[in-house]
Symmetry: C2
Subunit: 187 residues, 2 copies
DNA sequence: GAAGCTTTTTGACATATGTCAAAAATTAAA
DNA sequence: TTTAATTTTTGACATATGTCAAAAAGCTTC
């Protein structure tokens, strides 16, 4: 919990009153490896802060699982599309390791956003950061070769390679597992 | 201007006081076809609302121009990365048609965000929508074939095909112009 | 440590898409 | 209109990456 409160203050300044309000709004969630935090078809009604552990978001395409994002320590995770629109999720969220999360429901968050301008600001700034991060990933994914994508991963987020099976990483990069394996063997 | 104010109220409810404050904060900008709204290397200090016209964001990669987004009526446009971080832009923004825009500077916007919770909310909600839109485009771009991408464009945003040269659309879809041309001839 | 899973690597081959260059077609200018 | 410039299409060919199947390597667990 303390880790979450500390992390939030990286986004913007929070008064002690706001911090106090926040404290009561999150619930601890502990899950073990391979469990699903979210099933496709269900509406995702919570936003999670990942204190410890790792997870992945994936969906099914022509019978294949496509992993399109990972979450690690200090990430906010949810099925954003479902959480924001209230529509059923098209993706699943699965634990890659035993993890500790802090959950806040959409209703609780909405209440905080209404009552605390500071929370509204924090969330706005968080979205800014998540937006430009996604934009960068998008541009890379679309215009770089498989080898370049792997090298970027190796330099920018090497911990992914250490904590996630290769098959998941391949689809995260948008390439086949065999291609990824071959790229690795030639470096 | 009226169009902008009306559009803003699609995101969230605004009091008449807030609307009044907003009115004085935007400046009208009129540009003609092919002009640059932003040059790469410059810091983008404004957010623009596109009232009428069309434009594209592009950057240079190995001597080639990569168009990675388009803006049309009622879009908010800027180099988000540069605008948010204050770093020099890696992209250019060019007018595809003569256009009318409304500009707000980052300082002015920051002032509004601080003084009006309603504006903070509006921007937070705008980011939510832009975020999930980008996420959807990302997933499509990475896991669909060139033909599927073109068909999506044809169904979801046919106006792009009518208003933008094919070469720009090809790089927007992440495929070569020749491939796009061939796909078109076979439908 | 042997047996049984799961994950990763290799091999052979298919194919979608890219590249380069030239020809058509379209649009703008004179 | 005629000419020039730009945009789009076609053709021939190269190549990166995908697919399917099997072998190898790495982990569990009994």
């Amino acid at each position: 919990m303390q880790q979450l409160l500390t992390h939030l203050q990286n986004y913007s300044v929070l008064s002690s009153g706001t911090l106090e309000s926040l404290t009561g709004c999150f619930e601890k969630v502990v899950l073990s490896k391979n469990e699903l935090l979210l099933n496709e078809g269900r509406v995702c009604r919570h936003l999670y802060f990942l204190e410890k552990g790792a997870l992945r978001g994936f969906y099914n395409l022509d019978g294949k699982e496509i992993t399109h994002w990972f979450g690690f320590e200090k990430d906010f995770v949810t099925s954003f599309h479902s959480f924001i629109t209230g529509e059923p999720a098209v993706e699943n969220i699965q634990l890659l390791e035993g993890s500790i999360l802090w959950a806040i429901s959409k209703e609780t968050l909405t209440g905080l956003l209404n009552s605390h301008h500071e929370v509204e600001r924090l969330v706005r700034i968080a979205y800014e950061k998540y937006y430009i991060r996604l934009e960068e990933r998008f541009v890379n994914a679309q215009f770089k070769t498989a080898k370049e994508l792997y090298e970027n991963l190796l330099h920018q987020t090497p911990y992914i390679l250490e904590r996630v099976p290769l098959g998941f990483i391949a689809s995260y990069l948008g390439i086949s597992q065999e291609t990824l394996s071959r790229i690795r063997s030639k470096l």
